[in-house]
């Protein structure tokens, strides 16, 4: 039966019961205006709803009854017992019809004209009407004063047998009311349990209030239990135990009143999908998994619409037509899968389709067209970020607006609705293979048991559901016996736990809580909360562990929602407010199993020594392998509109800052799309643009370049952001552009360029310096150690200047300088010391050892300037080694 009809029946039966009582009361006190108004209102509501639901017979009877009541209310008629009887008769007729309705789902056949005529007559105040029906209606009059009295004694079965009520319904309806009367009791009794008896309608606010009370009761119970624990053999123990059990049952019971299976929100979807499939000419199979997953009724109401939207979207945008699917080698029938399950105190609903996936290019184009982001911003976004634009208001990628979707209202509403209940929505898409939307909804209002811990002097709650075990561990070096001990890899703490390394995060560090009471530093014991995060384990280091408490999760204020570390807050039994930690958020923040999320910058800066990490620009071009270049070498990132890229004399150029700039394509091909992302390299005098497909990201990474087999333009391969990445050789590309652009003459200049030797033990620095110097027009040779450099000297390499690191293994920079100055062909060359520490004493030591100049690392400009000064006279003389030596000596002397 229709849900609406069931609701109507339930509601109307309640109203009728109320009416019986009220009418009897009215008969005793005909002038009770309040009662009269109530009766009128109830009948009016019934009439109105009947009209709405299309129940003409019921409506007519109710309408006639209402008219009489209206006259009564207006004081045009007096509520004589005749009239009351008449109204009661109309109510009885309504009950008869309702019973039939409950039985068959449709109004039973019948003729009410006699009753209606009687009512109308009464309404017009004609004495004849009551007269006419008076004998008939006098029968119910007797039973009317106590309509509820016979009910309990009626020996009717609570559940009517299907056959019995039906004929009794039909019969009295067809006959005169008086004859019907005895029979009418039966269907009335039978109908009520059928529809109304099994459910009681209770206001949500009543349940809400009950829930709050139970929550408070649970907290009070917990406090009592805590007290009882400290008192042994108390007389309270046993009753308290019982109270505790009852409280738990009560809590579960109240929770259950609010829970409904998610299938209730899904039951309209099969029909929707079927209709859509017909309308769109697609073959769609809807699969629903986990329909019995229960969630809060209110939450259910709120996600109903978003879910419908998303399924509609999947059917319309996601899935292809059968011929397209066939062409793509997929089965003709597309699948939409709904999957609901519980995970870590949340409910996850996945909506998966095996359609075409999201069209990233189209989203990008649309983003640009709508001005939601600039090309540069877009170029800097990850795929996932771009995909998330579909949640932007007014965004639709559907090529054509169909009746079903494409108006760009939907996904943003979906997102807003889900976020309103503290949930999140995310998507994954594979071009050609489909998309998955994942909705994560917290179980708000739920009481969860949580472990209370302390870190840095603050208390926090960790949901018990994600706590696997607790480990008491000693700080480094203070572990006794076979107690587990926290060890460190570099600065990262780990714990050996049953033959496995457990990654650890310190809650104090993670939440920037400061030192706390210092118990831990004093070599005391630490506690590790082993938490399950998805499929992996994570240890959270805390200072202290209290016990578990039942807490009522309350969402945090909107202005704090961006802190992903907390899933909510709560008030403890002692009245204090504490934050509830979200182990998933902690894992994401600390990089455990956290796909996209990067470390927060401040954390990266704290844990990674600054000299070892460098900002790398990640981009994509040519093949799938990501490419990287030290950000310091890139002058600018530009997005050049395709229209502004010109071909001049067979070369690709663009007008850039009032000059022509050569553009070089990494893979020799120019891309497509409205604009071209370009990395601009500059050596001061000229600039060139390297055309790439996509600028992906900037990451801070410790670079370890493994020089692989030389591919032109690529220095080697390094692991960046967890992926093997080609680090490109800026020098190669600058030269490539120059060759293209300056034709020969600059080339000759390049050949005459001073030759610089770099001695540097750090791979990274070598890789950074070589292109930097090359870009500035020097020929560069690199040596990884002083010994290697001296070998070069022996082999007779011609060098114009030496740049050397100071801190190196085996022979350091000072030793190397002395060795050079001690004699040989390089004895008089300018030598520039490159070091992290520039203080006067060091500079003095460097000069004594024979260095010409002293430059701090990272100071690319200063290094180039120093080189220029050291070499400038030599270049001016255009001259031989001898001249250079002379001058270098002179400059040294002058210094």
């Amino acid at each position: 039966m229709d849900d609406l009809l069931v609701d109507f029946l339930t509601e109307t039966n309640e109203s009728l019961a109320e009416l019986d009582v009220a009418l009897v009361k009215l008969e005793r006190q005909p002038n009770d205006h309040e009662t009269l108004s109530l009766i009128f209102r109830l009948v009016h509501t019934i009439k109105g709803t009947c009209g709405f639901l299309g129940l003409p017979r019921l409506e007519r009877v109710a309408h006639a009854g209402e008219n009489v009541l209206g006259r009564l209310r207006d004081g045009k008629l007096v509520a004589s017992s005749d009239i009351i009887s008449l109204v009661l008769a109309s109510l009885d007729r309504i009950k008869v019809i309702l019973a039939g309705l409950a039985e068959k789902g449709a109004e039973p056949e019948g003729d009410d004209s006699a009753l209606i005529a009687a009512l109308d007559a009464a309404c017009e105040g004609r004495a004849s009407a009551p007269e006419l029906s008076a004998p008939e209606l006098s029968t119910p009059e007797i039973s009317a004063p106590e309509p509820s009295a016979p009910e309990p004694t009626t020996p009717e079965p609570t559940t009517p047998e299907p056959g019995t009520p039906a004929p009794t319904v039909a019969e009295p309806a067809a006959e005169a009311p008086v004859a019907a009367k005895p029979g009418m009791e039966a269907p009335r009794e039978g109908a009520e349990p059928a529809v109304a008896g099994q459910t009681i309608r209770v206001g949500v606010d009543v349940l809400e209030h009950l829930m709050t009370l139970v929550s408070e009761l649970v907290l009070t119970r917990n406090q009592l239990l805590q007290l009882a624990r400290s008192m042994e053999n108390s007389a309270f123990t046993v009753p308290l135990q019982r109270l505790s059990h009852i409280t738990t049952d009560l809590q579960e019971g109240v929770m259950k009143t609010r829970m409904q299976p998610i299938g209730n929100a899904w039951n309209k979807l099969p029909r929707l999908v079927r209709d859509l499939a017909r309308e769109l000419g697609k073959k769609i199979d809807l699969v629903m998994i986990g329909a019995d997953t229960e969630l809060d009724r209110q939450v259910l109401e709120l996600i109903k619409d978003p879910l419908t939207h998303m399924v509609r979207n999947s059917a319309d945008h996601g899935l292809e037509t059968p011929d397209v699917r066939r062409a793509a080698g997929k089965p003709e029938t597309g699948h939409i899968t709904l999957n609901a399950f519980h995970e870590g105190g949340h409910i996850i609903i996945e909506i998966t389709d095996d359609g075409r996936g999201l069209d990233l290019a189209r989203i990008r184009a649309k983003v640009l067209a709508q001005g939601l982001a600039s090309e540069a911003e877009l170029a800097a976004m990850s795929e996932n970020q771009v995909q998330r634009f579909i949640f932007h208001p007014g965004f639709s990628t559907a090529a054509a607006i169909t009746a079903v979707s494409g108006r760009g209202v939907g996904m943003d509403v979906v997102k807003t609705n889900i976020e309103r209940i503290g949930g999140t929505v995310d998507l994954k898409t594979m071009p050609g293979a489909g998309s998955t939307f994942t909705i994560k909804i917290p179980l708000t209002l739920a009481i969860v048991s949580a472990l209370i811990v302390e870190a840095g002097g603050e208390r926090f709650a960790i949901p018990q559901i994600s706590v696997v075990e607790l480990v008491r561990a000693g700080a480094e070096g203070s572990a006794k016996g076979d107690q587990p001990m926290i060890e460190r890899i570099n600065a990262t703490p780990v714990l050996r736990l049953r033959d496995r390394l457990l990654p650890l995060v310190g809650l104090r560090d993670l939440l920037a809580l400061g030192a706390g009471d210092g118990a831990a530093q004093a070599g005391g014991e630490l506690y590790i909360v082993v938490a399950q995060v998805g499929s992996s384990l994570l240890g959270i280091i805390v200072d202290r562990v209290f016990d578990t408490e039942e807490i009522v999760v309350k969402p945090v204020a909107p202005i704090l929602r961006h802190i992903t570390m907390f899933s909510g807050n709560t008030i403890l039994g002692d009245g204090s407010v504490i934050m509830i930690l979200d182990p998933n958020g902690i894992a994401r923040a600390s990089g455990v199993g956290g796909g996209e999320q990067r470390k927060p910058p401040q954390e990266a800066a704290d844990t990674v020594t600054s000299t070892a990490s460098t900002a790398m620009l990640l981009f994509r071009c040519g093949d799938a392998a990501p490419k990287a270049v030290p950000l310091g070498l890139v002058a600018r990132l530009e997005d050049i509109p395709r229209a502004r890229i010109e071909i001049s004399a067979g070369k690709t150029v663009t007008q850039y800052r009032g000059r022509l700039m050569p553009l070089v394509a990494f893979d020799g091909l120019s891309g497509e799309g409205e604009s071209q992302p370009v990395l601009v390299f500059s050596d001061g005098a000229h600039s060139m643009g390297l055309m790439v497909d996509e600028i992906v990201d900037v990451v801070d990474e410790v670079l370890a370049i493994e020089l692989g087999p030389q591919v032109p333009g690529v220095l080697g391969t390094a692991v960046i952001a967890g992926r093997a990445t080609d680090v490109i050789d800026t020098d190669y590309w600058l030269r490539a552009a120059e060759e293209d652009w300056f034709r020969g003459s600059p080339r000759a200049e390049a050949r005459a360029a001073p030759h610089v030797l770099i001695v540097e033990d750090s791979d990274f620095f070598r890789q950074l310096l070589v292109p930097a110097l090359a870009a500035a027009g020097y020929r560069v040779t690199a040596a990884a150690s002083a010994a290697e450099a001296l070998k070069l000297r022996e082999s007779g390499a011609k060098i114009d200047a030496i740049i050397s690191d100071i801190v190196m293994p085996d022979m350091d920079g000072l030793g190397f300088a002395r060795a050079i100055r001690a004699g040989g062909p390089w004895a008089a060359l300018p030598m520039i010391a490159l070091t992290g520490q520039v203080d006067p004493a060091d500079v003095e030591a460097g000069r004594e050892a024979g260095f010409t100049d002293y430059v701090g690392k990272f100071q690319r400009g200063a290094l180039l300037e120093s080189l220029r000064q050291c070499l400038a006279p030599a270049a001016n003389l255009g001259a031989t080694m001898g001249g250079a030596i002379d001058h270098a000596t002179a400059s040294w002397d002058g210094a």
């Binding site: 809580l513 309350k554 204020a557 202005i559 704090l560 961006h562 807050n569 008030i571 407010v577 934050m579």
Partner: protein, 173 residues
């Protein structure tokens, strides 16, 4: 004098939900507006009385790690969690001296309660529209942004705080 003192005792009243002297309709025909006044580093500020849910004296505030600096923490107000905002910080004022007792004005926005920590909550004033003036253009940006305007009182000036803007934190993650 353009002001009428309606409730000089509100500062001591921890539960002024039944505002003792507040007029039933503060935006009455006369164009009068009723404000809860408070002081902040000696500056008199006002919040429309209808926006004020509660005035609290010293309360235990739980620190919230990683929250914006302006957020002092959260506190328990009769079973509801209230986010406390350090108004001095929010308005780029120097922090109150150690041990300085602070009071809090609780307001509601979007079903959430927020408590603004202030130095002192003073009286409730009913002010005439004629004494209202827009922000002088020279007001520092942080004040200009969070102020709806200025009331000229007889002896001093009162800044009308814009609660919505004070609560509009840019979500700097």
């Amino acid at each position: 004098m353009s002001t009428t003192h309606t409730s000089p005792t509100i500062g001591e009243n921890p539960h002024p939900e039944a505002k003792p002297g507040a007029k039933p309709d503060p935006v009455a025909a006369s164009g009068e507006q009723v404000f809860v006044t408070l002081s902040l580093a000696d500056q008199l500020c006002g919040i429309p009385v209808l926006m004020v849910r509660d005035v609290l004296s010293a309360h235990t505030i739980t620190r919230i790690p990683l929250a914006p600096a302006e957020i002092a923490g959260s506190l328990n107000l009769r079973g509801r969690i209230v986010t406390a905002i350090d108004l001095r910080r929010r308005l780029s004022l120097p922090p109150a001296g150690n041990g300085a007792k602070q009071m809090a004005v609780v307001t509601e926005q979007g079903g959430e309660l927020y408590a603004f920590l202030v130095d002192q909550v003073a009286e409730v004033l009913s002010l005439r529209a004629e004494d209202f003036e827009r922000n002088p253009p020279t007001l520092p940006a942080v004040w200009a942004h969070h102020s709806r305007g200025i009331y000229r009182l007889a002896d001093r000036l009162m800044v009308v705080l814009d609660i919505a803007r004070l609560l509009a934190f840019t979500q700097a993650a």
